[in-house]
Symmetry: C2
């Protein structure tokens, strides 16, 4: 019954969707938007995937086949065998297959519009900057990077290139999370006062990069705890202004480099606070709950690729359609590029969350509440 990888875990815990459609669509819908027709709208944007690990292989490449406005146009990999396999599977032309030393040649490849960075966290700046210098838009997986300095450098370089930078915050486009946001914003159960959110799993292979601080920047907080930060930010409608945290380590051999678990608290400028938990040690932590004046509502599970399930204390349904979250995220970014409008998940949001996570590590290390300036989200 133990999942052997992070992906298996996310799949194992998925619950079959009820499939009841919402009365009104909540997903940013390209088809229904009244936008000026241009010739660019007709073509699909070419995406190059950088890093062909399990996320690219099992989620992003299949999702690209389901998008309306994107297509898999190129790959960047350091493993020649992967290049051969992907070329055969997806019919990628030789000219669009790169390694990390050659990827700057993308500058001469008009077939690639967007680079999707799916490498380990501490390589995101390297790959984003290369892509920006090649004149490409960049979609970068979360967490944005392992330091605020590197995040700022990414923002600066993409800006200098006149391109857009988005962070792979799939839940920002996930209909259950958007329904949570709607209930909070419309105060359907009154003002939200408290949030609880938790995401964790029992990590497998002790040699993987996620347990290597140099590559990952931290442990479960960086990898999955960030989802609780994002969820709380969505519901609170703000970024946290103060944080506290405690880490926990019961297996110092496996978790010699990064925290095993973390319990953490976020305080928002509007008085809302969030209590969060993340772990690489135990399964079944996958939930977000909002407590409002007239009732509570939440998702359990909240952060799976599919099968997230909503509930409301008034027993009304909290339902939303199932979508391919990666396809929706990529189509949204493509729509931003095509219509020249700013992404709702920009580098600045990624930077802010990295700043929050660095503050949480400082809080855990020093045993002190760490304050952050109160920028509205």
């Amino acid at each position: 019954m133990e999942p052997t990888s992070r992906r298996d875990f996310l799949r194992m815990t998925a619950i079959a969707a009820a499939g009841v459609p919402l009365a009104r669509p909540l997903i940013p819908s390209i088809a229904h938007r009244a936008t000026p027709t241009t010739s660019r709208q007709e073509r699909k944007l070419g995406f190059a995937l950088v890093g062909l690990g399990s996320l690219s292989t099992n989620q992003i490449a299949p999702a690209l086949q389901k998008t309306k406005h994107c297509r898999l146009a190129g790959i960047v990999t350091g493993t020649p065998a992967k290049a051969v396999k992907w070329k055969a599977q997806y019919g990628i032309p030789d000219k669009s297959i790169y390694n990390y030393d050659t990827m700057q040649r993308m500058a001469d490849n008009p077939d690639i519009d967007v680079v999707y960075v799916v490498t380990p966290n501490a390589l995101h700046a390297r790959d984003t900057i290369k892509a920006a210098r090649a004149g490409k838009h960049v979609l970068c997986e979360k967490p944005m990077e392992v330091s605020t300095e590197k995040c700022q450098q990414m923002i600066d370089e993409v800006k200098k290139a006149g391109r857009q930078l988005a962070i792979g915050y799939r839940c920002r486009f996930e209909p259950h999370h958007l329904e949570m946001l709607r209930i909070a914003q419309q105060k359907e159960l009154g003002d939200v006062r408290l949030i609880e959110s938790a995401f964790g799993f029992s990590i497998g292979d002790p040699t993987q990069w996620r347990l290597n601080k140099a590559l990952a920047g931290g442990g479960p907080l960086m990898d999955v705890g960030i989802y609780s930060i994002q969820s709380a930010e969505m519901i609170a409608g703000a970024y946290p202004i103060a944080v506290s945290a405690m880490t926990n380590k019961t297996d110092p051999v496996k978790f010699k480099d990064v925290e095993e678990s973390m319990t953490y608290e976020l305080k928002f400028p509007n008085g809302i606070s969030a209590s969060c938990t993340t772990s690489y040690k135990v399964n079944g932590i996958n939930r977000t709950t909002a407590y409002a004046d007239n009732g509570s509502f939440g998702l359990t599970p909240a952060f799976n690729y599919d099968g997230n399930k909503g509930w409301r204390s008034d027993n009304k349904p909290l339902e939303a359609p199932e979508v391919d979250q990666f396809a929706t995220e990529m189509d949204n970014f493509a729509d931003c590029i095509i219509n020249n409008r700013p992404t709702s998940v920009p580098g600045e949001m990624g930077l802010r969350d990295v700043r929050t996570m660095m503050a949480l590590y400082e809080a855990a290390r020093t045993g002190r509440t760490v304050t952050l300036e109160g920028v509205r989200g």
Copy 2:
């Protein structure tokens, strides 16, 4: 739908019990214990209730009628009209009806064995000490008092009188909580690594003593947050050695004196940590969850007077019989007194939890993790 009092809330959220009996009894059972027979075992101990508020009226007095080893023998009240009503309802003799000025005369009343202190938190020491000086055993409602100094004084005075002091931790005798404890102790789902626990409700009348810091010692943490501390202590098998906390206030008029909500973290000596939430602002916060190596288990709701409901991630039932928690608690204390064995919920446990709560308030005030010495629980 809004409950108008704390008691209504606890009743409203109760879920009808499934009533499936456990294979083995988990409640400390007097009937099944092989103890030496003495004449004292035959008689019921006389309980005097001090403070005739809603808890005494709606829970404790009715519960006394269901006990095996206790009977309502006396009352202490500052309200003559209540004395008249209780005398009529329960047939209490005049000689066993006291006010706060006369209660020391209990020393001459052999009909009263135990004094159950149900007054506001900051009066517990006053009433406990009077009872001890009258030679009575004392059962004192949680939280024990509003300062560690007063708790220690209570312990010293009861000890000096050669009597027993127990704290009204009803969940220590509640079969669902005992089943949680059993699963944790027997490692049925492996070692517990993380705990989440939360208890809160939307408080009514803004003039009640629970919102007055001088009488309550604090807000929801003192009143209901203490249940999460107790639950985490039971599951972790220890007292916390370090705590951090943040308070939250969105309604500074109603909550001018005490915190509105608190998110808090407890770190235990065995590496386990707990993430907790308490509130006087919102309903529906009522849960305890343990995450272990091979699965998770919990109670939702966890802290009601009846209708607590268990679950396990392996889908095996987490069931337990429904009991009257106050009757069980009082019978357990009576059994301790009759058989001259120490209570499992002594003043020292109450003191330790008050120390933990004072540390949590200090952590919230200073923004610093506060350490506590690592006494095993």
